[in-house]
């Protein structure tokens, strides 16, 4: 089984979000970039397929050279090869097209992406890849079992869960549940040493017309002062929620 895991490099969840150049660019100063959490659950699930089913696991990212350290971490966790499409990611359609192009040439049985990245939160790339490649797609994926060419996939839906069956090849949009938080691996020294020897290819893509551009960022407005109420005066709280906030 050949697996491709799509990796988005995102600011660590504790990062302060600031913008520079007249609010047109994210300020990377002092920000640590990590594997997108939803992708990391998927990468860890892929490692289990590697251990049990001898799967070959490649990881792919669309981005500039600064992302290599994050890809090295994916190799240290256990991926066999990393591929970086050397272009600044600006638009989901562009990212999906580049990844789909690579996947088409290298015929994967399973592509694992995250449900969404925690920076732009688009929830777009896996669905777009599925349509470009015309393969099955399950997002909000919280469980995945594969036997021969048959996949059983659990998907979180509003108010519950469903189990679906389909054939490989397929792509999933993964999230927590695919593996648990406690299953995530911190690379050990051996993994880190091995990662240095593993291939990390940079590929120059052809040009592509994007369909969207993001050009201005805003910070949320400052929250107005909180109203503190006494624990013995719940009538005031109800009154404020009803008459002032108008949410009851």
């Amino acid at each position: 089984m050949k697996i491709l895991v799509c990796i988005s490099c995102v600011p660590d969840t504790t990062s302060r979000i600031n913008f520079i150049n007249n609010d047109t660019e994210f300020d990377v100063n002092g920000v640590q970039f990590v594997i997108n959490p939803n992708d990391e659950f998927g990468l860890t699930r892929a490692m289990w397929f590697k251990e049990k089913n001898n799967a070959v696991v490649d990881v792919i990212n669309v981005g500039e050279q600064t992302n290599d350290s994050v890809l090295r971490k994916a190799l240290a966790i256990g991926a066999d090869k990393a591929v970086r499409i050397n272009r600044k990611a600006t638009d989901s359609f562009q990212v999906a097209t580049y990844i789909a192009d690579y996947a088409k040439e290298n015929s994967y049985d399973l592509i694992i992406a995250g449900r969404e990245s925690i920076d732009y939160n688009g929830s777009m790339v896996p669905g777009m890849i599925s349509e470009i490649l015309n393969i099955n797609f399950v997002t909000n994926c919280v469980g995945l079992q594969i036997q021969d060419r048959n996949a059983k996939v659990e998907r979180e839906i509003e108010g519950g869960k469903e189990t679906l069956s389909c054939k490989l090849p397929m792509i999933i949009g993964g999230q927590k549940g695919l593996v648990e938080e406690s299953d995530l691996k911190i690379p050990n020294m051996r993994g880190i040493m091995q990662a240095r020897q593993k291939p990390l290819e940079s590929i120059e893509p052809s040009d592509l017309d994007v369909k969207t551009t993001t050009n201005k960022f805003y910070k949320p407005e400052e929250k107005k002062e909180i109203k503190m109420l006494d624990a013995n005066d719940l009538d005031s709280l109800i009154n404020l929620l009803h008459n002032e906030a108008k949410v009851l």
């Binding site: 600011p11 920076d119 189990t163 648990e180 993001t214 910070k219 909180i226 719940l234 906030a245």
Partner: protein, 320 residues
């Protein structure tokens, strides 16, 4: 040319988000002087939508469409788009809409923006405001392609009444073959889903153990609210993952978010920041959540919550 609104349904009725989606699409159709078409799949009675101004309603019913399938639904919507020369597709921020929209965007060669919170700030070039960095910021995104798809965040655009008498149009869709089968469906009984809820009651480690969730569920029942929890609570297995809200869990954009015994880690605050009104109940007056909330009570959840529940029951009885 036309604008198409795709609406989600539950038990064959339009969901609440439908009224937001149709209202948004109506405003846009006025700005662009285009006809507004609503696509309703397996909805028995679409008359509730007439309040919000559709020009046409295309109702597609088929036993094979009973179960949602993103590929099949996207295919059918694209058939309608082609037939009616649709230039703009508007859908909700619901799970199914966001599942099918990226597929549709490839079929239509359309630029797609999700998590949109307002009408376009500019029509030329077409620019919309959306959330980014898990609700820690907003940004302006311009769609440069001819065809455009917009997913509007739930609860971010209030329904606007605009009554019309829409034409009900029959449409014979070609239904593609289903490639995925549903083996089982596991729905939590009787509860409100976080995505649909107007009110979410959420609790954290301050509740001390899963056995204490009764008071949270009671309060949620009284308010018709969904229940949610913080990350540590779901990591500890006290509550299911599906209830975890925050940056790596579910985003919540509800009208009222009540946080009980949740200190307010930055990732949690990001996930709930687009909720309109936040109430925090916590024993620790230094809890960071108080800085991000509208109303706060310093107090013990085990005392405050049952009391609040009784008072709300009385309030509901009086006001209904």
């Amino acid at each position: 040319m036309s604008i198409l609104a795709y609406i989600e349904s539950k038990s064959n009725k339009p969901k609440k988000s439908s009224f937001e989606v149709v209202s948004y699409a109506k405003e846009l159709s006025k700005q662009l002087s285009l006809e507004l078409i609503v696509v309703a799949i397996n909805i028995d009675d679409s008359s509730d939508l007439n309040k919000y101004g559709p020009d046409k309603i295309i109702s597609i019913k088929d036993a094979n469409l009973e179960k949602f399938d993103a590929k099949i639904y996207a295919d059918i919507i694209s058939q309608v788009c082609i037939k009616f020369s649709t230039s703009h597709v508007i859908l909700s921020g619901g799970v199914d809409s966001k599942y099918l929209a990226p597929i549709l965007s490839i079929k239509l060669e359309a630029g797609y923006v999700s998590n949109v919170v307002d009408l376009p700030s500019k029509l030329e070039p077409f620019t919309v405001k959306r959330t980014s960095f898990s609700n820690k910021s907003f940004c302006d995104t311009t769609i440069t392609s001819d065809k455009k798809i917009i997913s509007v965040s739930n609860n971010s655009f209030s329904p606007v009444e605009n009554p019309s008498t829409p034409d009900l149009v029959d449409f014979q869709a070609k239904i593609p073959e289903r490639k995925m089968t549903q083996d089982s469906l596991d729905l939590a009984k009787g509860n409100v889903s976080i995505a649909d809820a107007d009110i979410v009651v959420s609790a954290g480690r301050g509740l001390k153990g899963p056995e204490n969730w009764g008071i949270i569920e009671d309060l949620a029942n009284t308010l018709g609210a969904a229940t949610a929890c913080s990350k540590p609570v779901s990591d500890l297995g006290w509550r299911p993952h599906s209830e975890h809200v925050g940056q790596t869990g579910k985003p919540v954009s509800t009208n009222l978010y009540i946080a009980i015994g949740i200190s307010g880690a930055i990732q949690h605050l990001a996930g709930v920041s687009s909720s309109k009104v936040k109430v925090v109940i916590n024993t620790d007056p230094e809890a960071p959540f108080f800085k991000a909330a509208d109303y706060g009570i310093v107090g013990d959840a085990f005392e405050v919550v049952p009391k609040l529940n009784e008072k709300l029951k009385a309030f509901k009885a009086e006001n209904n």
